[in-house]
């Protein structure tokens, strides 16, 4: 009886087999994704105790590749990443061109805005699709758009808006804005000013940080006087590299919270994010990189994963077709942020909630409750369609 049953089961199983999809039966297709990173010299910083990792972005791309492969093998897809990290931008441009000539369709780029724009121009005749995982510059999203570039890293305006929504929800309306000396600090401050206007914050005082003393020794003496201005509810710091901002906390004239690039920070990603299934991504990342995953890692990871998801949802393996597939409103991507992520079809920006974190905890996620939008609440963050001159989906794929 039991033998009979076994035989029957075996028979049933063998009948099942012909209609199966298994990777072994199908031809394996190789998908290569290039990764380019410009290694900039590190400026001297006052708060240099915990330096930023050199491989921000690169490690995210690698984890994205292994995530893609884990699913790709069921579809006969194998992913590889080709990497170049260099201090020489010309070498990066040359490599990008060579990879394009070899047939690579996708590049994840971790470059400053100017270099990104140059590379995008140089590759505009190749059909290669670029993912910006390194530059938060708003100009790339509002005026200086490239039709062959999508952005997985949030822009400064998105970060500023996310912060402003939270501040206004908390009734912290009077802001003191302190800006560092670097050009990117000025751009961050611009995003904060724009957000103030959009959401009803009032910048009661603005200060530029120009001190050159060593704050590790003198913050207690310098910062209180420096922050003795018209009374504010909150201090917003624009210091992207972390030169002086860390020393503003707990040293302000009025005992007020510090937010912006230090203190409570709006980010694309942080180790403190563990909701929405993120705990698993964090541990995959840490196993591989031996450090915490940051926003640039997340942007590079999301770029690679987006390609993987689109191919498994039926996109063709070509840069221009991929671009159109991703810009289509039907494309959806689960990126551990609690809601589906899509791309803005006017400027190629990936819509995403922004996390507000302090160094060891997730405090909130924007958009905040009550900030409504006619089509998508996520578009309350950053430059919305009417505010951007870009219409990349109308320019068609090159």
């Amino acid at each position: 009886m039991s033998l009979c049953k076994r035989l029957f089961t075996l028979l049933a199983v063998s009948l099942l087999l012909p209609m199966t999809v298994s990777a072994a039966d199908t031809e394996i297709r190789n998908i290569e994704i290039g990764y380019l990173q410009l290694q900039l010299p590190k400026p001297p910083l006052l708060s240099n105790i915990l330096p930023d990792p050199d491989d921000s972005g690169l490690q995210g791309a690698r984890v994205g590749i292994s995530d893609n492969n884990a699913g790709g093998r069921f579809l006969g897809l194998h992913y590889d990443v080709k990497e170049l990290v260099s201090t020489d931008k010309e070498a990066l441009f040359t490599q990008g061109r060579q990879w394009a000539d070899q047939g690579i369709q996708y590049l994840v780029v971790n470059l400053p805005a100017a270099e990104l724009t140059t590379l995008a121009q140089q590759l505009s005749d190749t059909g290669v699709l670029l993912f910006n995982a390194g530059s938060p510059d708003d100009s790339l999203r509002i005026s200086n758009c490239s039709a062959n570039v999508l952005h997985t890293l949030p822009s400064r305006a998105m970060l500023g808006d996310a912060l402003a929504q939270w501040l206004i929800s908390k009734k912290l309306k009077r802001w003191l804005l302190i800006t560092g000396t670097r050009p990117e600090d000025k751009l961050y401050a611009d995003a904060i000013r724009r957000a103030a206007k959009r959401f009803g914050g009032k910048i009661v005082a603005e200060k530029d940080w120009t001190f050159d003393s060593d704050l590790r020794r003198s913050a207690q003496a310098e910062v209180p006087l420096f922050t003795q201005t018209t009374e504010y509810d909150v201090v917003i710091v624009a210091d992207e590299k972390g030169d002086f901002g860390e020393y503003v906390l707990y040293n302000t004239w009025y005992p007020r919270p510090v937010v912006g690039t230090q203190g409570l920070t709006p980010v694309a990603w942080h180790r403190a994010v563990e909701q929405w299934g993120a705990a698993q991504l964090q541990s995959r990342f840490e196993k591989q990189a031996n450090r915490w995953m940051n926003s640039v890692d997340y942007a590079a990871w999301a770029a690679v994963r987006t390609v993987g998801e689109a191919l498994s949802q039926g996109a063709d393996n070509s840069g221009p077709k991929m671009r159109n597939f991703l810009l289509n409103k039907d494309f959806q991507f689960a990126g551990f942020k609690g809601r589906k992520l899509t791309f803005r079809d006017w400027n190629g920006q990936m819509r995403q909630p922004i996390e507000l974190v302090q160094p060891r905890a997730l405090i909130s996620q924007s958009p905040q409750e009550g900030y409504l939008h006619p089509t998508n609440e996520l578009d309350t963050l950053g430059y919305d369609k009417p505010e951007s001159q870009c219409r990349i989906s109308e320019s068609g794929a090159k």
Partner: protein, 327 residues
């Protein structure tokens, strides 16, 4: 083979006294509290928590043994499946489970647990009698939902990041098919007749109905709740009534349960429950449906016939899974 059967017989004879002791109690529900490392025991007559059982770290999926004398608990952060003896309310054993077990399903034979190992992209099959791993099957990234068909021939796993359903032949212990579904599939369940498979996609916002014979999606259910952004409607748990007429879908941060006509796949009603509702279980007579609400830290009790939430019961922090034991 024969030896094993003898052993099982001996085992079930041994269990008899424990079972009769159990009959003195009412129906009870067990709730795993993910951030409290405990199981809350709810008396289904009084609808009150009567006991709390200490278990391992980050308990998530829970299920009863076939004879209902033991509770299996995925202690995710301890990388083990714990066996709780329900008579003594103590953890009596740690089963090998593979890394980070999250959800599992007991094969109708009562002997094999199919465990989704979330961090390892693997499904581990454990023989609960011999306490050994009989097979490990590679699946997609972040395996989560797990179920076994009523006839025991197929096990299905969902991989959240790969967004696929992986069909496993339970005899051969290998993959026979993969079905691509919407983003982040969380939960799968077979219809009681074994002909359909229901699969929820948390980020996709849909529930897919799959024909088991062809393994193709035949229907997709969408949900729409007034005043709630569609992106926040995130289906997770799915429970099907024994008579095949109704389906209940837990909608996560939308804080609602959808009541679905299981024949026409139309949504009939939405019931407001606690915050971030993920999993559910029926009382043995199916008059009540219980839900775990992670953020509000409670269990909502739904009167199935009246389609009304009749009570919410405070449990531990981040209640996750549910298992119900009949009187």
């Amino acid at each position: 083979m024969k030896h094993l059967t003898m052993r099982r017989l001996a085992l079930s004879l041994l269990m008899l006294p424990a079972m009769s002791a159990g009959t003195a109690m009412a129906d009870v529900a067990y709730v795993s509290n993910e951030k409290d490392n405990s199981i809350s025991v709810i008396d289904l007559k009084t609808l009150e928590v009567v006991e709390t059982i200490e278990v391992g770290q980050r308990p998530r999926g829970i299920t009863l043994s076939k004879d209902q004398t033991q509770l299996y608990v995925c202690a995710s952060d301890d990388d083990t499946v714990q066996v709780v003896d329900l008579a003594t309310k103590k953890v009596i054993e740690n089963l090998p489970s593979g890394e980070d077990p999250e959800q599992f399903a007991l094969h109708p034979d009562g002997k094999h647990l199919y465990i989704a190992n979330e961090e390892d992209a693997i499904v581990t099959v454990v023989d609960v009698d011999s306490r050994s791993v009989t097979a490990q099957i590679e699946v997609g990234v972040e395996p989560e939902g797990m179920t076994v068909s009523p006839d025991g021939k197929l096990a299905v796993n969902t991989s959240e990041t790969t967004s696929m359903l992986h069909w496993i032949d339970t005899e051969q212990k290998h993959l026979v098919h993969n079905t691509k579904v919407d983003q982040r599939p969380r939960h799968v369940v077979f219809s009681h007749d074994g002909k359909e498979l229901w699969a929820s996609s948390e980020i996709g916002g849909t529930v897919a109905i799959i024909d088991v014979a062809t393994k193709e999606i035949t229907h997709k259910i969408n949900f729409e709740i007034r005043g709630i952004h569609p992106d926040k409607v995130q289906p997770v748990g799915v429970e099907l009534s024994q008579d095949g007429k109704l389906a209940f879908v837990a909608l996560g941060p939308a804080n609602h349960i959808a009541v679905v006509d299981a024949k026409t796949y139309k949504v009939i009603d939405y019931l407001l429950v606690g915050r971030r509702v993920w999993h559910m279980a029926f009382s043995p007579d199916e008059k009540l449906l219980l839900t775990t609400n992670g953020i509000s830290g409670d269990v909502s009790v739904i009167d199935v016939e009246k389609r009304k939430v009749v009570k919410s019961i405070k449990v531990g922090r981040y209640p996750w899974g549910l298992a119900v034991k009949a009187d």
